[in-house]
């Protein structure tokens, strides 16, 4: 069996053409990156704003609760009710992308908010006392200090999106999920397993890339600091999310 999967994976016929691995891989990456970028555009400013004002926390609670919605159900519901209203070939793409976006925003939003929330109040106080305007406080103090948790929110959103984009092949989205869904439907196990290996590999690679980005983007003073701040008892993290408040509960 393993030889047959391997054979499928290395066959040049599997790689080329609009249905080939190359094209599907490209689609999968494109969808994921676009959706997560959109989630950042929405989630980060919103999270910063809620964290800064300390108002509108119900939105964070709602975002967290929304994560209990089964991803499969969300995907199907949007495909069933939104799809028919969209003309042409976009009918298969738009509902899926909207579903992915709805799944990607909560982790980014919650991560950003948690990051701002965890900042030592004295730091914010000092920023204000030195005459920084609210926007400056957000940009120069809160965002950089929240960065570790913002990025782990982004990482977890990305995992979620890569995984769910696979399932979205069932409702007509392209991407690597096609090999799994089509393989299952036609009883072609080598293709199914080959697709699964590709998806798993893609998820690992993207996560590694983001882990690297996390290293580069987190301000140096916060890197070693994490452990020490916890040791000094100023760890304000919520125990309900021990360690990582942005861990994605559904995929």
């Amino acid at each position: 069996m393993i030889e047959r999967i391997w054979a499928w994976l290395i066959a040049s016929s599997s790689w080329v053409g609009p249905d080939g691995i190359g094209a599907r891989l490209g689609e999968h990456v494109l969808f994921s990156v676009v959706v997560v970028a959109a989630a950042i555009v929405v989630g980060v400013p919103l999270g910063l704003w809620i964290g800064h004002l300390g108002r509108g926390r119900w939105l964070i609670a709602a975002a967290n609760a929304a994560r209990a919605v089964p991803t499969l159900g969300l995907l199907f519901a949007l495909a069933l009710w939104v799809g028919p209203h969209i003309p042409g070939r976009w009918a298969f793409v738009v509902p899926s992308l909207v579903a992915l976006l709805l799944l990607a925003i909560p982790p980014v939003l919650a991560g950003t908010y948690a990051g701002v929330e965890a900042i030592d109040p004295a730091v914010r106080d000092a920023a204000r006392a030195m005459g920084m305007s609210p926007l400056r406080v957000i940009r120069q103090v809160e965002l950089p200090n929240a960065m570790p948790l913002v990025l782990s929110g982004v990482r977890s959103a990305m995992l979620q999106v890569v995984a769910t984009a696979t399932i979205a092949a069932y409702v007509g989205l392209g991407g690597l999920g096609r090999f799994l869904v089509d393989g299952l439907a036609s009883g072609n196990y080598p293709m199914t397993a080959g697709g699964a290996i590709l998806v798993a590999a893609l998820a690992l690679v993207i996560d590694a890339v983001l882990a690297l980005a996390q290293r580069l983007l987190v301000p140096a003073g916060l890197r070693e600091g994490g452990r020490e701040r916890i040791a000094s008892g100023r760890h304000t993290g919520n125990p309900a999310t021990a360690g990582d408040p942005t861990v994605s509960p559904a995929r």
Binding site: A122, A126, G221
Partner: protein, 362 residues
């Protein structure tokens, strides 16, 4: 000069933090706001740079109503030091110090130069410049906090419990460094503390507040100790108020006594008094008991010394001189000059008699 005029702060829900406060804070001096928790001292401090908005009353700085000055402009002209420093974890020590100059739009090179200068000024090594706050000790962080507040050379410095989070030894050092700094800079400093010792040590003027935001008494430390306005202030100053007041009393002209001395490493001559003072290059090292140390040909060694006694200087306060006398194993307080060399000893009873006499004359 900063003036509070009938200033009150009432929080929604009716909690009164500050009640009709009237207070004048003189330019170039340290004014300490002291009191138990809930007395409104921090709230009062934070109203000066508009971090808290008064419910009624006015605060003026050099005659100008602060409500009419833009908050950011006002704040950039007032240094602010917090209890746990509140340094920015994502910025190096140097960048932390340069925060306000950057807000004011100074040139890079000038900010760098100024920050390095301040680092030295607050007694920190130059190689700490590129460290991050979480790599510093509590005392170092607090020093960086002071440097950051001084960066743009503001005339006013607001300090909120600046030394409360560090251990007593470090606190003592930070306090004396602040006094040394102030002797050079003559800033208008408003400092909040709950520690009456700190207040009496640092304040040119001390304002004692009581719960509910009432001003109980304002005055110099000596005035407070000598004439507390009521029981609350007297209690707050503590039981050893009389002894403490000696720190602010004038020193009477004392007769210094000569003392039998021996140099460290030399043998003790025979037939001396029971206690002999040991010197090394003229500086007092400790006392030795003659009957323990005196053997023919035996030299006085470091291990023989009874330490424990504090020394006072010629310009010390009566409190320090009395303490030197009382803590000495020989019962005589050692007095040194500016070079640290021994000049004579004093006896507690004589000092007390003189203080008594002075009191009678007043």
């Amino acid at each position: 000069m900063i003036r509070f005029d009938g200033v009150s702060k009432v929080y929604p829900g009716g909690a009164v933090a500050v009640d009709n406060l009237g207070l004048t804070i003189p330019t170039g001096q340290i004014t300490v706001l002291v009191g138990p928790s809930g007395c409104g001292k921090t709230t009062s401090l934070r109203m000066i740079n508009r971090m808290v908005k008064p419910t009624s009353g006015t605060i003026t700085v050099d005659g100008q109503d602060i409500a009419r000055i833009r908050a950011s402009k006002l704040r950039r002209g007032m240094g602010y030091v917090l209890q746990d420093a509140g340094l920015f974890p994502h910025r190096t020590v140097l960048d932390n110090i340069g925060t306000v100059p950057r807000l004011l739009g100074w040139k890079r090179a000038r900010i760098q130069e100024r920050a390095r200068e301040l680092l030295e000024r607050v007694g920190l090594e130059d190689d700490l410049a590129d460290r991050y706050p979480n790599q510093l000790s509590g005392g170092q962080r607090q020093r960086v906090g002071v440097a950051r507040a001084l960066a743009a050379d503001p005339p006013v410095l607001l300090m909120d419990e600046p030394f409360s989070a560090v251990d007593p030894v470090v606190r003592d050092q930070l306090q004396s460094d602040l006094l040394a700094l102030q002797a050079d800079l003559s800033k208008t400093i408003v400092l909040v503390t709950h520690d009456i010792d700190e207040a009496l040590r640092l304040g040119d003027q001390v304002a004692v507040l009581r719960r509910g935001g009432h001003l109980a008494q304002v005055g110099s430390p000596a005035e407070l100790l000598a004439h507390p306005a009521d029981d609350f202030v007297a209690d707050f100053l503590g039981r050893d108020r009389g002894y403490r007041s000696l720190a602010f009393a004038g020193m009477p002209r004392l007769t210094l006594h000569a003392e039998r001395t021996v140099t460290l490493g030399e043998p003790l001559p025979a037939g001396g008094p029971p206690w002999v003072l040991v010197l090394d290059a003229g500086r007092p090292q400790g006392w030795v008991r003659t009957e323990e140390v005196h053997r023919p040909g035996r030299r006085v060694l470091v291990d023989d010394l009874e330490r424990g006694g504090n020394v006072a200087r010629l310009d010390s306060t009566p409190r320090e001189v009395l303490d030197a006398a009382l803590s000495s194993p020989a019962g005589r307080g050692v007095i040194i000059d500016d070079q640290g060399e021994f000049v004579g000893t004093v006896v507690a009873s004589e000092l007390l008699a003189l203080l008594e006499l002075e009191r009678g004359q007043r």
